[in-house]
Amino acid sequence: MHRIARTLLLAFLLVAAIAPGLRAEEPLRELIDALGQAKLSDMDEHIAALAKTGDPKVVPVLEALGEGNLYARKADGQVFLTKESGSTLSLTDPVSGESVGEAPKAALSKVKVNNGVRRAVRSALGSLTLLSPDRDARLKAAQSVLQSPNAEALGAIEDALAAEKDGEVRALLEQARATTLIISDRPVEEKRQAVRLLKENGGREALSILSAALNAADDSLKPDIEAAVASIEQSQALWAAGQNVWYGLSLGSVLLLAAIGLAITFGVMGIINMAHGEMVMLGAYTTFLVQEVIRDSLPGLFDWSLAIALPLAFLVTGTVGLAMERGVIRFLYGRPLETLLATWGISLILQQAVRTIFGPTNREVGNPSWMSGAFELGGLTVTWNRLWIILFALAVFAALLFLLKKTPMGLQMRAVTQNRRMASSMGIRTPWVDALTFALGSGIAGMAGVALSQIDNVSPNLGQGYIIDSFMVVVFGGVGNLWGTLVGAFSLGILNKFLEPYAGAVLGKILVLVLIILFIQKRPRGLFALKGRAVEA
């Protein structure tokens, strides 16, 4: 008995002696380990408790939690930060920050997260990193407190605001302060100022916050909020028209890209090229292959993948086009309607070939970082990928125009299509010019495929979705006229986008088709009709 009591006493004394050193660490470890056991519904409280410690060690833990990299060891429930390497995970102790070796995935279980947890992590991280020395971290923190306003963080925001020097971060913090203030229990006068600030800044987020605040607001504040909401809504409505033009331009650029190759093979050469869509598809698959190789061996080059894919796609589809022309189409000149049948057959073969080689399912083509996300331009939301596609479409158009109008090659192409016999007697090798023209049209379709892979499915059916629209654009613009294709694509795009909000997506499209039919009655040769004898030939 006596001995046991003495041992216990000794143990107690020992613990008491070490305790001050442990005190800072152990509760933190306990709090972190508790994450591993918590139910999804209690996670909020655990995260709040962690955040309350204010310990900088919490930041990587919460970040790992949000990204799904926090795992609990099945054996003892200890929680680690992890990094995936093959089938094992390399573990980092969250408290000491030291690496503690690797463990197979099966020995660990992931700490589950859902949207609610991610929201809590975002707001906790926001207030924790508001005072970080790193500007980008502060900027991110300011954004996250703005996105998930939490009345308790108001003090932290105001502290941060007092210390902040950077203009951009300050502006965000001001906004964050205003949004948080509205939902806090501050005096009405301060809230009124906040409403004014939000009204001046405008934007959809402000609208959302204000309308949410309206129900809970003090009666004396309500008129202010209502006025602010009305004013923001009004400016939004104005911007909406501009946004529609932008959407229309963007849709138009997609149509232009899809149609521009066809403007050569169909418009200039007169081949009803039903396999045009498949050329676009082959271009998209080339992009997929390029990205696949880059992912496997040169991950650093991913942002360049599209730049690498462009010339490759041009070559691949250009070669396929060349083979098609030499193998089939050259026997069919002067029989345009029969090119329809042969190219339809070729399109079936190409589709099935791709399906056999790559499988029938969608393939993943990623957006490089410079094509992801969006930015705000006044009240407009401009997505980067759409912007690049518009620029790219215009660049392709300009290059093609230059090629046709200013180079000897272009001169020969035009000569051959306008008067084959005359061109031939002038010493132009017409068969080769035909072949190269068709290859050019196909190659451009392939380049379009690279761009379209960024916004659409990469599947064997990709081309089918564009073929009809492409023909409509070329015919609407006027066969044989590149400018017609440009104007046709953009006007159809914008028309479609202005009809869509009123008529809905389906009816809008039907109306556009009916308008095309009626338009062709009025101008049977399209927008920019070719004149002269060539027309009747």
Binding site: T361, N362, G373, W384, D456, S459, P460, A505
Partner: protein, 430 residues
């Protein structure tokens, strides 16, 4: 003329010889299983996988010794996403190839197209895809989810866990989204959601320009109430939809999207990094952790010789349906349609989500409902699960004309649309 006659003659001979050829095979000592999935055309993207899954299941069963002492033989045809061709091929499978059961179809219209054929020639169809309900046919077993096994639990989850008050019901304009959204609308209103807090939007098949709609969703979501999107957008249109969502910066934490037609296979064509947290409701996820599923995934990867191939819910439905059929045939001791139909009801087999699924008298099965969030690796993580199994409800309780109908194919009633208020079997017979 002579040539014409000769050509016709040759052609007739060809048709007849294939018939004879197939006839010769029927006499062989195998049990034939028909696989009716599109291998070309727009639906090939989804259906080809199911054909492969069926071939794998049949191969595995043959390794275990087949069925009733005979080997199973798969008969694959390509209905090419062409609905009338589905009917023609179904007829061919049943009357020319003499298959004992058919596993197939994806779209509702393909099922509707083959229904009369199965009824007329009295054969069995296993239909593996989630669908709009409002149907129960004697010759069909529905192994996919009915709306109450997918849509309603998903909405419940969002209401309870995400406190969603405002709803966008976005779908492709065809019968599954239309019906599901009708049901959901009625359900939401019954839960006290105001009609102005529900936005319904339909787009055509293969819609690829989502800019306007995504921005409308953003606008609808900025009314100060928590908003969610319930998406019944069909296969092909999903990739551009999600790409647009990601680019316009709609995060799952702000406006979550819950989808009923997006599974592992669809996500394989996407960079899911920006989509983490968007949801899907299914009865099975590849990420479900249990030995049966691990085994299934291993066999599948080995069969397709591709380590990156994923599994999905309709594949699991075929797995369940196929095993149920095996069990029913063994129980009946014959592949005779009527005997198997009788034996099917009540059959219970393990599913891949770690429990058992049972064939109910309405020819629908019991399933757990899982809600999963998209992860960066293209998989789903289960964040919620129904405590027990949910019985497929063929006639929705939330549609005024179907709430009185029930289906029971067991002996005395034998009716697919029994009206409990009039006590009569709706359209049965004549």
């Amino acid at each position: 003329m002579t040539i014409r006659a000769r050509v016709t003659g040759a052609f007739l001979a060809a048709v007849l010889s294939t018939t004879a050829f197939n006839g010769a095979f029927a006499a062989d000592d195998t049990i034939k299983v028909g696989i009716l999935h599109s291998l070309s055309g727009t639906m090939a993207i989804s259906e080809t996988t199911l054909k492969d899954a069926m071939l794998m299941l049949i191969e595995e069963q043959n390794k275990k010794g087949g069925l009733l002492g005979k080997k199973l033989e798969a008969v694959v045809v390509d209905p090419a996403s062409d609905w009338p061709l589905f009917a023609e091929k179904a007829r061919e499978l049943i009357s020319v190839n003499k298959v004992s059961a058919v596993f197939g179809c994806w779209t509702s219209v393909s099922r509707k197209s083959v229904l009369p054929v199965f009824e007329e020639l009295n054969s069995i169809l296993f239909y593996p895809v989630q669908y709009e309900g409002e149907e129960s046919q004697r010759n069909v077993f529905y192994t996919g989810a009915a709306p109450n096994q997918q849509a309603i639990p998903a909405v419940d989850y969002l209401m309870e866990n995400e406190e969603v008050e405002r709803w966008v019901l976005a779908g492709t304009d065809y019968v599954y989204p239309r019906t599901t959204n009708k049901i959901l609308e009625a359900y939401l209103i019954s839960k006290g959601v105001k009609p102005e807090d529900i936005m319904i939007n339909y787009t055509p098949f293969g819609h690829s320009d989502w800019q306007t709609i995504v921005s409308d969703i953003k606008k609808f979501g900025s009314a100060g109430k928590k908003t969610a999107v319930v998406s019944t957008i069909n296969g092909d249109a999903n990739v551009p939809f999600y790409k647009e969502l990601a680019n316009q910066g709609i995060k799952a934490e702000d406006i979550p999207v819950v989808a009923f037609s997006v599974g592992e296979e669809e996500l394989a064509g996407l960079d899911t990094g920006p989509l983490v947290g968007h949801l899907a409701a299914w009865n099975y996820f590849q990420s479900v952790d249990n030995p049966a599923n691990a085994e299934f995934i291993k066999t599948w990867k080995a069969y397709t010789k591709n380590d990156k191939r994923v599994t999905n819910d309709p594949m699991e439905a075929h797995y369940i349906g196929f095993n149920m059929w095996l069990k029913a045939v063994e129980k009946a001791g014959t592949t005779d349609t009527d005997a198997v139909l009788d034996a099917m009801v009540g059959i219970s087999v393990p599913n891949l989500s770690g429990g058992y699924s049972t064939m109910m008298p309405n020819h629908h099965i019991t399933k757990p409902v899982l809600i999963g969030e998209i992860q960066a690796d293209g998989q789903f993580e289960t964040v919620w699960e129904t405590p027990g199994l949910v019985v497929g409800d063929e006639w929705s309780d939330y549609l005024p004309d179907s709430k009185d109908l029930i289906s029971d194919w067991r002996a005395p009633m034998s009716c697919g649309n029994f009206n409990v208020s009039t006590g009569k079997c709706g359209g049965k017979g004549s």
